[in-house]
């Protein structure tokens, strides 16, 4: 037996040190087992000389999990002759207060084996053990392989070990919790610098669950997955939600590239027909609004990734029963960094800069110019006639014009002078700018026994690939906690965010859909240079404030961006104040109030003064102020006690009051008196004001009980009752329970295997109730504005209200298996879930001939079932310090609309050009219905006169939901160098891409250049029989290219706009270097890491011929549509992280 055993869970050394310690009598525990419990609970290591821990020492107090590890240690060691010291990381060292020995000098601080058994001391080796950040690891164990000779490192990570000559070719086994064990041949070396690679595979992960309660992951009966903050900051998107894509099994993120934009996040598929399907976002216990617009962003897009310590995804309904209704779609829990655990003052600085460019360039044709009928001729920006009576094609916004062969034609910047018509193959590149994002964050943190703080200031400046489209964000973050008296702790967490933009608006790739291929966008950007020339060609009665390639339907996008911006300025405060009071060692109470308040002022300049056809179009603009606030106040009582030696019990009970208030006020000035002066007083005709108010209150009581048996069998039971203001008063109370079970098989059956290190099964069943939106109970009338500026008008709402609404209920079941192998070097986590939502509150579409378009009903059932699989492994981890960590996740969700209301078959989620995305009974959510081509029995498209024929009626054309989604991440580390990559995959799922279909109709793409002179023959058949008795032969009728592509106009021929949404992207790639401590050369800088980072670097696979199919035109539940979005971007840059 070693003289100085070190207790460090999972480590080899402890096996020698620890004998059976379950010799506890009665309720009093002994010190040794209590220390072990502390280690388990807080994932810490406590080292002590056996001599000072008497197995029969009784302890004065039980562990209280509401307290910190230090506080518990203080309580436990109170009155004893033992002191403790905190080492780096999670290491604590006990020492007798009677031994006056000061901290020994590092070079001779060694715990030696008693000399009794030692004959010859041959030599002493020394060394230091460091972690990957070159920070010393105290308490790491050093053992000579195959012997009982060992030691632990001191507080500076140093060790000294005396080798006896008994061992030939001694090998050092160096290990520490949370790091991968290394074996090092001693040879003749006597000084070692040993660097341990951190392992993310620690068996005892602590996860944050509802109400910020930290739980041992093994105790959970449901599926969670966490993303460490460091993974969010390097290859960062400005919206942190986007970095979840591909990282977490079952989480589908659809982002877009506008600065400051929102992302659509769905966990385990959509369960609500009409409601919000996005998860609840909770920041340090405070719900954050996650429902607002795609263009103006939402909660997650505004918080700073630099302040995030960890994001935990609670996937099913179970995980979230305590958060109430809105958690039915899962919860994204954001835990921000605080100063706890830091010693003294720490400074952290992070700087990130990326450059953005479009990822995918459409395949354009560069043969024919803009216009129609093989003619390209600018006259007056419209289809007017020039002095020679020649009709212009300037008003045509398509590219069926003349060959770009250098022929002399008048163009918009030269007319009536003629210039050569030349291809502009790079006008895509000319159109877009290089976008840029710069983020700098500095944080100051500190702490002591009584409290801690962390304050951070961050600034993001982002410019888009679209000219004059930008975004800025200032984040001020403060996290503090302070203990006024030992039992009372107050904490304040708050983030104030000031964000905004000179112009949120953009003109997307419409400029490459309705366009002239010959347009030189560099000239268009500098239109002022050609304005005087172009003015000469304006038609009498026309006067535009800019030069453009046409004046019929399109404005100059660069003029619009500059002079017709949509600016906004938004203030947001998210924060909470919490008081924790320990009533006694078993009871504690927390009172907390948190709020998410924002106010957004938006000014949209809609038009500038212009004249067309002698008609004056006035300048106009809209000013809106939006205010939103959600306040949650909770009181939570916690009871925590080990009832029996083998049975632990933790009970929480509480009450919550949630108040949501929203108000928007908007004023539209339709006619400005003085153009360019944007003030509400500057109106030439009555302004149009409007406002919307929403208020909602939900009161709740809830409780949960967690039973732990022998630390290997866990049972969680929860229940919650809500009272919501939005339901009928006689039906506004609803209760929902959950139960979850977790069993650690390896502990139950005491499996001691070199292969299987850990096995757990889990299962749960949970319900979540949900209320309605406000004001759905009464039939209302809405204002339709003034007729003639004087007569007020109203109309009845098209939605039939419902006075007998009931809450909707989601029931989720899941089972899972968690296996770890080879001491955690490999692991598999598998989940199967089934979720069903019934009594959905939705506005069901009805025949408009009823007088109404929809009816609010409790209707329908949607089921989602699926599997989630994560596999991770560390295939390589060599003594030389090279390691490779790899993780793969896969999720497949199957979704079905089981029923809607009586007699109702479908619910329309979104519609575009009469194509609908529907929830239809028997079909998955988001099935696309529209017109398709008629086909022969052999499946060939039928042509008539060379053009494809439409089948009557509407048919299933696809579905927006992917077949599966997944991600594969790899990390390679060698010394201070690391490489991380993430591949993100979405397989299947269809999009209705009107933009691509129209760009074909308008002759933009390469395929439309084929056969322009000679015509094209569509592939398919034609009917040479009768309509009753068709005889199909291959189509051989030549159609003109323009007519042929027009018959693929997706506005009518919906099928031609359906594209496969599959993509495989190299989502992230970063190469980082941690500067070695000696390089930094001073004590001022603690660590420094420089990384080169990239996001969306490459499209590895897609089926869409022209663009990135990751698109979201409509936002919300209207997924799967596309029409001229800003293209997705490739981001390249660097990240610098320094701590002082």
């Amino acid at each position: 037996v070693l003289a100085l055993p070190i207790s460090a869970q999972g480590q080899n050394l402890t096996q020698f040190a620890k004998g059976p310690t379950f010799n506890v009598k009665s309720e009093n525990k002994n010190l040794e087992s209590t220390l072990k419990e502390l280690e388990d609970l807080y994932a810490i290591s406590i080292a002590y000389p056996t001599s000072i821990v008497d197995p029969y020492t009784k302890i004065p107090a039980a562990i209280n999990s509401k307290l910190t590890a230090e506080e518990n240690l203080q309580r436990i060691l109170k009155g004893s002759q033992i002191n403790f010291r905190k080492g780096a990381g999670d290491f604590y060292m006990l020492e007798s207060s009677q031994t006056q020995a000061p901290i020994a000098p590092a070079n001779n601080f060694s715990y030696q084996i008693p000399t009794a058994t030692v004959q010859n001391i041959e030599r002493t080796i020394k060394g230091v053990v460091l972690d990957d950040d070159q920070v010393p690891i105290p308490g790491a164990s050093i053992l000579i392989k195959g012997t009982m000779n060992g030691t632990v490192t001191d507080i500076d990570g140093k060790f000294s070990l005396t080798l006896t000559d008994e061992t030939e070719d001694p090998i050092l086994m160096v290990s520490f919790i949370g790091f991968t064990t290394q074996e090092i041949t001693v040879g003749s070396t006597s000084m070692f610098t040993i660097e341990l690679a951190s392992s993310d595979l620690a068996l005892n992960e602590v996860v944050v669950t509802a109400f910020g309660l930290e739980r041992d992951k093994k105790a959970l009966g449901y599926s969670t997955q966490s993303v460490d903050g460091s993974a969010l900051t390097e290859s960062r998107p400005s919206n942190v939600a986007n970095s979840l894509s591909g990282r977490v099994a079952g989480v589908q993120v659809t982002g877009n590239s506008m600065p400051g934009s929102g992302a659509h996040v769905v966990i385990r598929g959509s369960s609500s027909v009409a409601g919000n399907n996005q998860p609840l976002v909770v920041v340090d216990g405070v719900p954050l609004e996650q429902t607002s617009s795609r263009q103006y962003g939402n909660g997650l897009s505004e918080i700073s990734p630099d302040n995030i310590k960890e994001m935990t995804i609670l996937k099913g309904a179970t995980a979230a029963a305590l958060y109430g209704s809105r958690a039915a779609n899962g919860v994204i829990m954001v835990t921000t960094k605080n100063g706890a655990g830091s010693k003294g003052i720490g400074i952290e600085f992070n700087s990130n800069m990326t450059m953005d460019n479009p990822l995918v360039k459409p395949n354009f044709q560069n043969t024919y110019g803009g216009g129609s009928g093989y003619r390209t001729w600018y006259v007056d920006g419209r289809n007017g006639f020039d002095a020679d009576g020649i009709r212009g094609t300037a008003g045509v916004d398509e590219s069926w014009g003349a060959p770009m062969d250098g022929s002399l034609v008048p163009l918009w910047y030269s007319a009536p002078e003629r210039v050569p018509l030349l291809p502009q193959p790079n006008n895509w590149e000319d159109f877009w700018e290089t976008g840029q994002s710069v983020t700098n964050t500095i944080a100051l943190s500190g702490g002591n026994d009584q409290g801690s703080f962390r304050v951070a200031i961050g600034r993001l400046d982002q410019t888009s690939i679209m000219a004059d489209n930008d975004y800025y964000r200032n984040n001020f973050k403060l996290n503090t906690s302070y203990k006024f008296v030992p039992k009372l702790q107050m904490s304040v967490n708050a983030e104030y965010i000031k964000s905004g933009s000179d112009n949120r608006g953009f003109t997307g790739s419409q400029d490459f859909i309705w366009a002239h291929r010959h347009t030189d966008y560099t000239k268009l950007k500098n239109w002022e240079d050609y304005y005087d020339i172009q003015r000469q060609t304006f038609r009498p009665g026309d006067d535009y404030p800019y030069a453009n390639w046409q004046h019929e339907y399109f404005s100059n996008p660069f003029f619009n961006q500059k002079y017709l911006p949509s600016s906004n300025e938004k203030d947001r405060l998210v924060g909470s104040i919490a008081l924790n009071y320990d009533i006694n060692e078993h009871f504690s109470i927390m009172a907390r109030s948190g709020t998410d308040y924002w106010s957004d002022t938006r000014i949209n300049i809609n038009s500038a003064e212009s004249f067309k056809n002698n008609v004056k179009r006035f300048g106009s603009y809209t000013e809106s102020v939006l205010n939103s606030q959600e306040t949650n106040s909770d009181v939570i009582l916690t009871f925590d006690k080990d009832l029996f030696p083998r049975l632990s019990l933790k009970i929480q009970a509480g009450a919550n009051n949630r108040v949501n208030n929203y108000k928007s006020t908007s004023v539209n000035v339709g006619q400005l008196t003085i153009d360019g002066l944007y003030n509400l007083g500057n109106y030439a005709s009555p302004v149009t004001p409007s406002s919307t108010i929403r208020k909602q209150v939900v009161n709740s009581v809830f409780g949960s009980a967690q039973f732990g048996f022998n630390n290997y069998l866990f049972l969680d039971v929860t229940g919650r009752n809500d009272w919501s203001s939005t339901l009928p008063t006689n039906n506004n109370s609803f209760f929902y329970p959950s139960v979850a079970l977790s069993a650690v098989l390896t502990d139950i059956f005491n499996v001691q295997s070199d292969i299987l290190s850990f096995a757990k099964i889990r299962g749960s069943i949970a319900q979540v109730g949900n209320d309605a939106d406000p004001y759905l109970l009464n039939q209302v009338y809405s204002s339709e504005g003034l007729w003639a500026g004087t007569t007020p008008t109203y109309a009845e709402s098209n939605e039939i209200a419902n006075r007998t609404l009931k809450p909707e209920i989601t029931t989720g079941k899941e089972v899972g298996l968690d296996l770890r192998f080879f001491e955690g070097r490999a692991g598999i986590d598998f989940t199967y879930y089934h979720q069903s939502t019934v009594n959905q509150i939705l506005a069901v579409s009805i025949s408009t001939a009823s007088g109404y378009s929809s009816q609010i009903l409790n209707a329908g059932e949607i089921t989602n079932q699926g599997i989630e699989l994560t596999i991770n492994a560390t295939p390589i981890n060599t003594a030389s310090g090279f390691s490779w960590y790899s993780a793969f996740n896969f999720a497949r969700n199957r979704n079905k609309v089981v029923e809607l209301a009586e007699g109702l078959e479908n619910y329309i989620l979104a519609t575009q050009n009469s194509l609908t995305s529907e929830a239809r009974v028997g079909q998955p959510y988001g099935t696309l219905y529209g017109r398709r081509y008629e086909r022969s029995p052999e499946g060939e498209i039928i042509y008539n006169n060379g053009l494809p024929v439409l089948e009557s009626g509407t048919h299933i054309l696809g579905n927006i939901q992917p077949d599966w989604i997944g991600g594969w991440s790899n990390s390679f580390a060698y010394k201070g160098l690391e490489l991380n990559m993430l591949i993100d995959m979405k397989m299947g799922g269809d999009i209705f891409d009107v933009g691509t279909g129209l760009a074909r109709k308008t002759g933009q793409y390469a395929e439309t250049a084929i056969g322009r002179e000679e015509g094209v023959i569509g592939q398919g058949v034609k009917n040479i029989g009768t309509s009753e008795e068709p005889v199909y032969v291959p189509n051989d009728v030549i159609a003109s290219a323009g007519t042929f592509w027009n018959s693929q106009n997706p506005r009518t021929y919906h099928e031609s706009g359906i594209f496969d949404g599959t993509y495989v992207k190299l989502r992230e790639l970063s190469v980082g270097y941690v500067f070695p401590k000696n390089f930094l050369g001073n004590k001022f800088i603690q660590t420094m890491k420089l990384s080169f980072v990239g996001r969306n670097l490459a499209m590895l696979y897609k089926n869409h011929p022209h663009m990135d199919p990751e698109v979201d035109d409509k936002g919300g539940n209207g997924q799967g549509f596309s029409y001229g979005e800003m293209p997705s971007t490739r981001n390249l840059g660097f990240n610098l992280h320094v701590t002082f």
Binding site: G373, Y374, N383, F385, R391, W400, E552, K612, N613, V615, S685, S691, T692, K695, V697, N699, W723, T726, T729, N732, S733, P774, Y775, V780, Y781, S782, S783, E784, W787, A788, T791, T793, Y794, E796, N798, I800, I846, S847, T848, A849, S850, G851, Y852, S853, Q855, G903, L904, E905, N906, N913, S914, T916, R920, R931, T954, G1042, N1046, N1049, R1051, T1052
Partner: protein
């Protein structure tokens, strides 16, 4: 803790009860808008479909996708259908229930106005679609709610409309209670009576070939008792919505034509007016730079259209305050002329026709040339209907109805560069909106069977002569 929940959940944005004067204006405006102009692209039934099909207008761009080539966006059907049922008809229905005998706002004049406007709206729908939900429609919030209403045949719809118009005339009384919010006639009940009875003449005349006895009886009943059944007797009494130069209250043709120049006057109309040396050409069309008038053939390819220099729509229709016309004095006189010619009513068809043409010239601020009657080549069904077609410029749907019913005017052969879809057939109707297929399939199928042909744009409607 939940006692104030009811108050919290009371909508602070929208009222739960309302007076009929606030519902009437928007309901009128929406159906008038759909009839005359409508400015939402891909929903402009009159401008993009009817006026092009009837060859008053022609498109010079997007010809093959927006109507002129007989291919229309599906949203023309759905937009028209949804808007008239959901924004007009239901609000007239609500006005009726609020003002019926014994109701909160009991007022026979509101009731009569709502019935007349409902009749106008249902007539519009049935004349473009065929069988429609009628007797079971508008009952989504009724005591016995109907979400999937059955379709009635055109014959049934016409019978219902004519009965309602008769009842409306009985309800409307110049000595009755005042109405507020009447943006069409500003509370002038006599004008409402004239419109109601003139509308009944239009409906009776349109179904005359199918139900000659009933139609003749109705027309005779109306025309023989001008005191009880006043009709439109001069241009000042015409049913037209006066517009204002305020955003949202402007003439919709102005809204459309002032911002886009996709249309010209059709060759068919220009040639007819030139042939008749008809001065109305100066109102309907703008001259070219050289002072002459030229038309643009319908249904050309975009490329072919580019070679034409054609007249644009007359400036009168580009005036934001130009009225939206529902029914004119001229139309009433044309109806009399046709009915007299057909023997449905007593009277001199020639005199009625001359009166009709005079009224049309007068309506355009012109005077009919004294020799004009000699230019039209005798009083025949063709000359009556051709003149009516000229007079109905702007009321494209009405002109289209009359063309489909009578086959006049005889349209010239398509231009060689024209490409028409719909098997080359000038559309006989428009298809039901796709939403009816998904939301009301069973009844729709029944409706299609009442249509007597497929749900396409080639099946003739019931009143075809």
């Amino acid at each position: 803790c939940t006692k104030d929940f009811e108050e919290i959940n009371t909508d602070p944005n929208n009222p739960v009860s309302i007076s009929p004067s606030l519902l009437l204006p928007n309901a009128i405006q929406v159906v008038v808008d759909r009839y005359w102009g409508h400015s939402t692209r891909y929903q402009r039934l009159n401008i993009d479909a009817a006026m092009c099909w009837i060859q008053h207008l022609s498109r010079n761009i997007y010809i093959n996708a927006e109507g002129d080539s007989y291919e229309i966006p599906l949203t023309i059907s759905s937009g028209t259908w949804n808007s008239i049922y959901n924004e007009s008809l239901i609000n007239f229905e609500r006005v009726k229930s609020l003002t019926a005998a014994g109701a909160e706002y009991e007022n026979a004049n509101y009731l009569g106005i709502a019935m007349t406007m409902q009749s106008f709206s249902f007539a519009y729908l049935t004349d473009v679609f065929g069988p429609i939900p009628y007797s079971e429609s508008l009952k989504g919030t009724a005591e016995e709610a109907i979400n999937s209403p059955a379709y009635d045949s055109m014959e049934e719809v016409y019978a219902g409309i004519l009965a309602d118009l008769m009842e409306a005339n009985d309800l409307l009384s110049t000595s009755g209670p005042a109405v507020v919010g009447d943006i069409l006639f500003n509370g002038d009940i006599m004008k409402w009576k004239r419109f109601t009875n003139s509308l009944a003449l239009r409906m009776a005349n349109r179904q005359a070939a199918k139900k000659p006895a009933e139609s003749s009886a109705i027309m005779t009943q109306i025309l023989s008792d001008p005191v009880k059944y006043p009709i439109i007797e001069n241009n000042a009494q015409a049913a037209e919505l006066t517009h204002f130069d305020v955003i949202g209250s402007r003439n919709k043709m102005f809204d459309v034509f002032s911002t886009r120049s996709d249309w010209n006057i059709s060759t068919t109309l220009i040639n007819k007016l030139l042939e008749l040396d008809d001065e109305r050409i100066t109102v309907y069309a703008q001259p070219l730079d050289d002072g002459t008038y030229a038309g643009l053939p319908n249904g050309l390819t975009d490329a072919a259209a580019g070679t034409f220099n054609a007249s644009r729509i007359g400036l009168k229709y580009l005036d934001p305050t130009a009225p939206s016309v529902l029914m004119t004095y001229a139309e009433v006189e044309f109806i009399k002329a046709e009915a007299a010619l057909d023997g449905d009513i007593e009277g001199d068809a020639s005199a009625f026709l001359e009166s009709a043409i005079k009224a049309s010239f007068h309506q355009q601020g012109l005077t009919m040339p004294s020799d004009y009657m000699s230019r039209i080549g005798g009083v025949t069904k063709e000359s009556i209907m051709t003149q009516k077609w000229i007079a109905l410029f702007g009321q494209g749907v009405e002109a289209w109805n009359e063309y489909r019913r009578t086959g006049y005017p005889v349209m010239s052969a398509p231009h060689p560069s024209s490409v028409f879809s719909n098997e080359g057939v000038l559309p006989t109707r428009i298809e039901y909106p796709t939403s009816e297929y998904s939301l009301n399939k069973t009844n729709l199928d029944e409706g299609v069977s009442k249509l007597g042909g497929s749900d396409n744009m080639r099946t003739p409607l019931w009143w075809v002569e």
